[in-house]
Symmetry: C2
Subunit: 491 residues, 2 copies
């Protein structure tokens, strides 16, 4: 169904810059967006500062905590959340599903909590879904999902006025269940789609599994649905998750980590005790050394660390958006993958979904930077190989890394990692790619696969491949019927 | 000769944190250090602010400009540079060699300019060396180098009191000349060693050539010499250059780029006109949007951009130092290589010098993160392969990625990218490496080379290799006499 509340403006890979209209708040939130988690009991950084100093357009708080709180329940009902939190942007509320997952039960129904969320003035509410952990037995994942789906159907029929409603997508680590859950959720009249129960995957650094789960949910949800990667607040994985098509992120990490003297960076998490220098120039770090910070009292240190954590988190979100706008989001993902071996696994898993990413990836961008062997499997390379089946070489065809030759009917260029193409396409993206002089085996192998594709599609042509010193692993992928010569052996 | 002025505290790869004692300034400069270039005629950011807000301990200015300046010559002689520039840290002065390279001649001798530098109160002076550009004819490179070497010898005999003196290392792109130049410079009584004329390489993104030039100079200079990568101010390449053993950097870029509305990042240079979001949270960027900045007047915009450029430059220097202290400088180099294909070439060139880096690389660090196929050629892997020749397996030896077996005299582990090792070494660095589940062909190939090394060194043993689904390119590197079985085919 068409999603009136969400409009996509720019795309790169499966990532997008979008606008989520939140009618009850009277605001439009630009995505990808980071929702700081605000605990009404512990305001490490005041919500008003989140808005004015960090640029937060939306935050998230837990309605179940308010619902069960002697301190806040009545105040929230009387004054409303915006007044209570002193925040003018959009406010999303969670339902208690997290508490359900942690403690086994909660004493509220979807209908009750949605009505409560509406009454306290939430702009985006959440039903009580069942977060099935990774690797749960299949039967449990299925029955939990059936319960979640019933609750989405209940939620569809609760009158919550203009409040948007989340439709969480569960299914544990079963790709088919996640995809079916996405398809079901998308068919409801609900508005925003959190991919749920991925926190355990992230805590265990299972980024490859996270990529597979998100890819499956996205296949079910389709391209138009705004997707929230629920519980994902570490800036290290924003680029990867946005490239997969996630639009909303929430961070409790900024505050929770600060309490433990943990310092976020896009390359991982550091403990304040281990830092001699701040690898950051945010207002907190530009004026202080780690030693300065260690000497502050607990409360001030926690607040300053939380502020740093917020700065680096919002900075990364801006970096992701700028990359997306510039058409080099995948270059940023390449970069961010070199933070931890598990992030590399996540990026390598992304390549398994290159076809899925290719469908939304723009046909033309400003540049393609080849930055590693993984660049050889980018969506643009997949697309070029697809395109090869629509090209029509004729007669005796030279595919060459060297000069064209009059001894053939046609002379095509060959460039790793893409493979062959007619010279007339030389100036079209992505064949304008900037590649290293020291190309790797994977790039040559991918070029050889391009040759194989072209040969396979054109059985009536005869092909000669002239390459410069390709590794044996690449030459081995060239079909036997191709006449192969190594230009570097000519002299 | 021993370098009293320079003490090395921490090492990682060929990089180090050091202390350069600058007696005339009465200060000790921690290296790696960034020297902002201050043009006495155009102070984009006041030197006092460089010290107080950005933490600059040392700056560089051009004595030849002062020497020839009607405005400043007398003031510099009367008041001295520290007073003129209002800077308490160390001041290095260049000699006019740059002008010589640009305009073909200058009207001052080494003796005159060194005396002038001494008279104006410079803390580190420079003779008039001859910067030979890359790819110059060999004869020119040799004769220029001979002239530079004569001038170093003249410089040795000029009485400049406590002022330290630079001994530039030239030799164009000839590795043997750079190495000889390094050896000659190190044998003088001069103090600091700029690797000269690399700016054209950086301007042309020839980072692989830059790595080769630095590696050659370092071979000649030896480990104890403080090395200045002259003209290198883009933060993108600090990690790579520090890992090669460079200690000092100077940046005119922060100001020159600001004049052209260019915005530095560790992933390259952006034009302000192309930015929708600031990928930074420095005090300049945290409070403003690119649109805000575009609307400022020329002078304010230039100053703010220069401040951002300085923030990101000093931030990267701190990031490099923190990585070095944490023992993960090479992980940072991996990351920074994914900024541009030419940076990848630079990092791939580094692997050619892994043996050279290995000599200063600590035997133990906190962690080894495998982050790409390039990780397979890190110095630690080279060292492990060397170590294999000192180990003594006996009898029938199983090398296995699976469980040990009683059917053999010894059961060793095999881990990509390292190759085989006795189980007792499992907990020693780097064999504690964190590696991706999705290992690449290069990692397996390097493990196979380790197997080959062990087999080669132990002709009296018989070896069986039990691997999990290694690619054919890796299995092909295992010597024929090894009995190979694939554990993933067992079931």
């Amino acid at each position: 169904m068409e999603r009136d509340a969400f409009e996509i403006r720019d795309q790169d890979a499966a990532g997008r810059i979008g606008e989520l209209t939140v009618p009850r708040a009277g605001v439009t939130v630009e995505t990808p967006a980071l929702l700081p988690v605000v605990n009404p009991h512990v305001r490490t950084v005041e919500p008003a500062r989140l808005e004015s100093e960090f640029g937060a357009e939306i935050l998230i708080t837990n309605s179940y905590i308010l619902y069960g709180s002697d301190d806040f329940r009545e105040a929230a009902l009387d004054r409303g959340l915006h007044d209570l939190l002193e925040f003018d942007g959009a406010i999303m509320t969670d339902s208690g599903s997290f508490q359900l997952a942690e403690y086994g039960e909660i004493d509220v129904t979807t209908e009750e909590i949605l009505r409560f969320q509406h009454e306290v003035g939430s702009d985006i509410g959440t039903p009580v879904d069942i977060p099935t952990p990774p690797d749960a037995p299949r039967e449990r994942a299925e029955s939990d999902l059936a319960t979640t789906q019933e609750r989405l159907e209940i939620a569809e029929n609760v009158d919550v006025g203009e409040m948007l409603v989340n439709a969480p997508v569960q299914g544990s680590t079963y790709a088919d269940l996640r995809e079916a859950a996405g398809r079901h959720a998308e068919a409801t009249n609900l508005d925003v789609f959190p991919v749920g129960a991925v926190v355990p995957l992230m805590n265990e650094y299972r980024y490859a599994d996270m990529v597979d789960v998100v890819a499956a949910a996205k296949r079910g949800l389709g391209a138009d649905a705004p997707v929230h990667l629920f519980g994902a607040g570490h800036p290290m994985m924003f680029a990867l998750a946005v490239a997969m098509g996630c639009d909303l992120f929430d961070s409790a990490a900024y505050a929770l980590y600060a309490r433990d003297d943990r310092y976020l960076t896009v390359r991982g998490t550091e403990h304040l005790a281990d830092l001699d220098y701040f690898p950051c120039s945010c207002p907190v770090c530009a004026e202080r050394t780690p030693d300065d910070l260690r000497q502050r009292g607990n409360e001030e240190r926690e607040r300053l660390l939380a502020e740093h954590n917020l700065h680096v988190t919002f900075e990364e979100m801006r970096t992701v958006k700028q990359a997306l706008r510039s058409g080099n989001l995948l270059e940023l993902v390449e970069n961010r993958a070199r933070a931890h071996p598990a992030m590399l696994d996540g990026y390598r898993a992304l390549a398994d979904h290159a076809g899925q990413l290719e469908r939304s990836d723009p046909a033309s961008k400003s540049s393609f930077f080849y930055l590693s062997g993984e660049s050889a499997t980018r969506p643009e390379v997949v697309r070029h190989h697809e395109r090869l089946s629509r090209l029509d070489p004729e007669g005796e065809v030279l595919l060459t890394e060297g000069s064209p030759s009059d001894n053939f009917d046609e002379s095509w260029r060959v460039v790793a990692p893409f493979g062959p193409f007619p010279r007339a396409l030389s100036e079209t993206y992505p064949l304008t790619a900037e590649t290293p002089e020291r190309m790797d085996a994977r790039g040559y192998e991918q070029a050889a696969r391009g040759v194989a594709r072209l040969v396979d599609e054109n059985p009536d042509c005869s092909f000669t491949l002239a390459h410069h010193d390709w590794p044996a692993s690449a030459v081995a992928l060239v079909p036997d019927e191709v006449d192969v010569l190594d230009l570097s052996e000519e002299y």
